[in-house]
């Protein structure tokens, strides 16, 4: 058997074994020495899992610290794909009313051990049932997640906005967030999302291959979640609720703003909806109901829709005419109750006519004929220029989503729509009284009123007052931004503001008057193609050293002076009442006394020992 051939075979076997040994040894070297760190990382990734800890979203308060929104615990339901059985899927899908195929699809798209959120804000009854039957439901897990709780909700829906699960577009703009995270979807919740959101914490746990937690792991990367900042709004909750009760079932908006800094005290749009029903899991019934409501409660009338401003916009024409020296304030004009332009006759709102009026009188009585003529004198370019100068046709920059810029038609606009030279002078006359193509939002109107009250200084309307860090109570205030409207002569303001004062003092806006506090305003009754006129009122008070500007719009409400001015008046009284400058009782006594004695208010004041004020508003 021992031949040299056999020796050869032996060495051939040796050779093959040595070769195989080297190949295997080399691969071990490759894995364990060359790529060791790579695989070490992978093995850590395998067994150490990040547990996300959700931050508590900041609360929302009003300007005086009254709580509007805070958070309550809610539970979300998760399934772990590696453990979930068909039976679990069946039971859960029945329980939460989701098709089992949808659950399967979600489970497939996730990692084997990655819990998949199948439902947010599970009913406590359902959760209890799951907890009792957990033995038969392998793979089911629940985690606590804070949920918005609305302490007060009347009249706040449009302002607060809603929360919802992040969508793909938002994921692109917030790269630090993950699918399933909750973000603000509308209004304040969206604008201040980054401030209120807080940041997630991460803890690390060691898990086995089945995803079961074996132990806590402490690393340098362990991070506690940091809660979001509390947001203090400029809103005065008492006034907001009061405004809500004033508008009641009416459709419209009420905005009040501090003229000294642009802080919005009230921002109300009616009708609205129960915000708690739209934040969280939205039931399709409620959603359908809201979407199909003929009054469009989801629509924010304060800033989302443009309306014809009606007579309130005569102020722009007046300023333009005066500032461009087109007329003198003393220019008199006779109003016979109608105005003939070309072959058309347009009527003033007062059929008998206002007689002879100067500019102040025309503002006070809101004479259409006077302003038709003024419109023709000014011309479209100048009208557009002054409209734009007062920031019409552009967004105010308030911290709300979906703000409408309105529309200030220019020469270009008309030539585009009607063709070169095809538009008529009648259209221009119409613009001067705030009809026609011009569209404004109530928010723009209140901003305009504020600018007038400040004689050209515009504060950007804003809702954010301050942010408070819940951990160290550190505050960061939002700054008021202002611009000066350049190039308006002081005398121009004198005339226009005096006209506005007279509107309240015996003019169309008497019902907006507040006893003891002289104010200024302008009514508007805007014709529109949707039925009854829109009722406008804008105003500010006190006349000297203004504090507050207000805009009331009642959609299809009728006359501005008859519908909106009284609402403004009641609101202003309440405002000054809170300021300690107005007393309901005193006014009541005065009226009673005046009625009993058939005497003048001034006499009644004297008998009550009240210092005689400048205002004669109540006498009208």
């Amino acid at each position: 058997m021992f031949t040299s051939e056999q020796e050869f075979k032996k060495y051939l076997f040796y050779g093959i074994f040595i070769l195989l040994f080297l190949i295997l040894a080399f691969q071990f070297y490759n894995l364990q020495i060359s790529k060791s760190s790579l695989y070490s990382e992978k093995s850590v990734e395998n067994s150490v899992k990040i547990v996300t800890q959700f931050p508590v979203r900041g609360n929302i308060y009003d300007r005086d610290g009254r709580m509007i929104v805070d958070n309550r615990p809610a539970f979300s339901l998760y399934l772990i794909p590696s453990e979930t059985t068909e039976k679990t899927i069946g039971t859960i899908s029945e329980l939460i009313d989701v098709h089992p195929d949808d659950i399967r699809k979600e489970l497939r798209s996730a990692g084997r051990f990655q819990p998949v959120k199948v439902m947010r804000q599970v009913d406590i009854e359902k959760l209890t049932w799951i907890q009792e039957n957990i033995v038969d439901l392998p793979g089911v897990e629940w985690k606590s997640e804070p949920k918005r709780h609305y302490v007060r909700r009347s009249g706040l829906a449009h302002l607060l906005g809603t929360l919802g699960e992040i969508d793909e577009r938002e994921l692109v703009s917030y790269p630090q967030l993950e699918p399933g995270d909750i973000v603000g979807k509308k209004a304040v919740e969206k604008t201040f999302d980054e401030n209120m959101r807080g940041s997630k914490g991460f803890s690390f746990v060691k898990v086995d291959a089945a995803g079961r937690v074996v132990e806590q792991v402490y690393t340098k990367k362990t991070l506690r979640p940091s809660p979001g900042n509390h947001l203090y709004l400029t809103i005065d909750l008492r006034l907001q609720s009061f405004a809500d009760s004033l508008l009641g079932d009416k459709r419209g908006a009420l905005i009040a703003i501090d003229t000294r800094n642009g802080e919005i005290l009230t921002l109300l749009s009616k009708p609205d909806y129960d915000v708690s029903k739209l934040s969280g899991v939205i039931s399709s019934d409620i959603w359908d109901q809201l979407v199909n409501d003929p009054h469009h409660p989801l629509y924010d009338r304060a800033c989302q829709s443009g309306y014809p401003p009606g007579s309130t916009y005569k102020l722009v024409a007046a300023i333009a005419a005066l500032n461009e020296n087109i007329i003198r304030p003393s220019r008199k004009n006779n109003c016979p109750g109608y105005f003939v332009i070309g072959n058309k006759t347009i009527r003033c709102w007062k059929p008998k006519g206002h007689g002879t009026l100067d500019l102040e009188g025309a503002i006070k009585n809101s004479c259409n004929v006077y302003f038709y003529q003024l419109g023709l004198l000014i011309g479209l370019d100048t009208w557009s220029k002054y409209s734009t100068l007062f920031h019409f046709g552009q967004k105010t920059g308030i911290e709300l989503t979906n703000e409408n810029p309105g529309l200030v038609p220019s020469l270009n606009y008309y030539e585009k729509v009607y063709g070169k030279g095809k538009w008529t002078k009648g259209m221009l006359a119409n613009l001067a009284i705030g009809q026609g193509e011009v569209l404004v939002t109530p928010l723009q109107m209140v901003q305009f009123t504020l600018t007038l009250a400040n004689r050209g200084i515009l504060y950007t309307p804003h809702l954010g007052l301050k942010l408070v860090n819940p951990l160290n109570r550190e505050e960061s205030k939002f700054k008021s931004e202002s611009v000066k409207i350049e190039g308006i002569h002081s005398q121009v303001f004198d005339v226009v503001l005096e006209g506005m004062r007279e509107v309240v003092d015996g003019g169309t806006g008497v019902w907006a008057a507040v006893y003891g506090i002289p104010s200024a305003g302008k009514t508007g009754t805007a014709q529109n193609p949707h039925g009854e006129d829109h009722a406008w009122y804008i105003g500010f008070a006190p006349f000297e050293n203004p504090e507050i500007a207000i805009c009331v719009l009642v959609e299809n409400g009728g006359s501005g002076g008859g519908v909106s001015a009284p609402i403004a008046g009641k609101y202003l009284k309440r405002y000054f009442h809170y300021q300690g400058k107005y007393d309901y009782e005193v006014e009541k006594k005065l009226w009673a006394l005046a009625a009993a004695k058939k005497d003048s208010i001034a006499a009644a004041q004297d008998s009550l020992g009240i210092v005689h004020s400048d205002s004669t508003a109540l006498q009208n």
């Binding site: 021992f2 040994f21 190949i23 071990f28 060691k206």
Partner: protein, 407 residues
């Protein structure tokens, strides 16, 4: 007494004992009772019992008269075929394949036993004085010894184990006198099979074959039959591929690209490589491997047990195991060379080959060089049938060593 000790091959024995200790460490670490309540079976204890039985058999085999082994070769072979037949009719299902036979409380895998029995039968047939594997009739009969269990096992189906039979036959034939040129000719279909999925490579290989055949001056019958065999093999393979069980096809596909299915079948290979790679030079320490202890490793007490060695004992441990295997294999070839008896010599080569094949395929699988086949690692993987069979084969080698001067 001293005489007895002198006749024991301590090199072989120590290599085997070393491997068994390495295996027991890995097995304990990967299946100790505290790991999980699910491991109701105490694998470690069971394995120890099998090892004790195996060593008992080694002692018996050591003292067995050498001729008895030769005499009983065909009976063993017949018995193993009988068991394989039994599996076909009354087999117990396991992982999508019938491989187990239950006898009383013990279930065992007849295919393990058949490996050894086939080695004995082929060796007995080829060790006859007049036998010459270069002659077609002898070659064919020897091949039939191999093909019969191969066919019975491949239909269990157990592709990995059935391949073992093909793998051990050629080295044994070669050792028994098959010329290298003929060996290559016979091995040609294997290359043709591998090439058959790629038409151009297939064509080139066939061309080389034709040139080789023409230059080799053989009888026309051989030339033509070999040529036809290769052509048929090449054309048939894609058809056979389509007839493979989906899980078998998947295993090969996943092997070629484990990342294609990281959560499914590729999971095993990836986790195994992560375990070994993260072990580094010195390992994470006994019972400290996170991949093993947290059960990320699949089949960590059987097929992928060497990944436990790699993770917990590191490159050093892996290399130690490899070296022990290397020593065992080289020693086996040395025994095959030193024994005077031709039957013993061929059997020794068969044993060496079968251990080598399992080792290469299994370790190659855990480090991502070969597809997942389910072949256990000799002396290391948990499993009674394999452990006992392997120890019996070692007992045979020790017997051969003791009787190395006998003709």
């Amino acid at each position: 007494m001293f005489q007895y000790l002198k006749n024991i091959d301590f090199i072989l024995l120590l290599a085997v004992v070393g491997l068994i200790f390495l295996g027991l460490m890995a097995l304990y670490s990967s299946s100790h009772p505290s790991l999980d309540a699910g491991f109701g079976n105490n694998y470690f204890l069971k394995q120890v019992i099998w090892i004790l039985i195996g060593f008992g058999l080694i002692i018996i085999l050591y003292f067995l008269p050498n001729r008895w082994i030769y005499a009983s070769a065909y009976y063993f072979y017949g018995l193993s075929l009988f068991f394989l037949l039994l599996v076909i009719f009354v087999g117990k299902m396991g992982q999508g394949a019938e491989r187990w036979l239950q006898i009383g409380p013990v279930s065992f895998q007849p295919s393990e036993f058949a490996k050894f029995a086939t080695i004995l039968a082929v060796a007995k047939f080829l060790s006859r004085d007049e036998a010459n594997p270069n002659h077609i009739p002898d070659f064919l009969i020897a091949s039939i010894f191999v093909v019969v269990p191969f066919t019975m096992i491949i239909r269990q189906p157990d592709l990995g184990t059935s391949m073992v039979f093909l793998a051990i036959s050629l080295p044994m034939f070669f050792w028994a006198g098959l010329k290298l040129s003929n060996l290559l000719l016979i091995a040609m279909p294997i290359f043709i099979i591998l090439a058959s999925f790629h038409f151009f490579t297939f064509l080139v290989l066939m061309l080389i074959l034709v040139v080789y055949l023409v230059l080799s001056h053989r009888s026309k019958l051989i030339l033509i039959s070999n040529f036809l065999l290769n052509i048929v093999m090449g054309l048939l393979t894609p058809v056979l591929w389509n007839n493979l069980k989906p899980y078998q096809r998947n295993r090969i596909k996943i092997f070629l690209n484990p990342e294609s299915d990281p959560r499914g079948a590729g999971y095993q290979i990836i986790q195994s490589k992560v375990a070994i790679g993260s072990g580094g030079g010195l390992g994470k320490g006994f019972m400290q491997g996170s991949q093993t202890q947290l059960r990320f490793l699949p089949e960590q007490h059987t097929d992928f047990i060497y990944a436990v060695v790699g993770e917990e004992l590191g490159f050093l441990g892996a290399l130690t195991g490899l070296t022990l295997f290397f020593v065992l294999l080289i020693r086996g070839v040395q025994i095959a060379s030193m024994v005077k008896n031709k039957f013993n010599s061929i059997v020794a080569v068969g044993i060496v080959t079968v251990i080598a094949f399992h080792m290469i395929i299994n370790i190659g699988m855990t480090i991502g060089l070969f597809p997942v086949t389910g072949l256990p690692l000799p002396f290391i993987s948990y499993g009674g049938s394999a452990m006992v069979t392997n120890l019996v084969m070692i007992g045979i080698l020790l017997n051969f060593y003791k009787n190395r001067y006998e003709y």
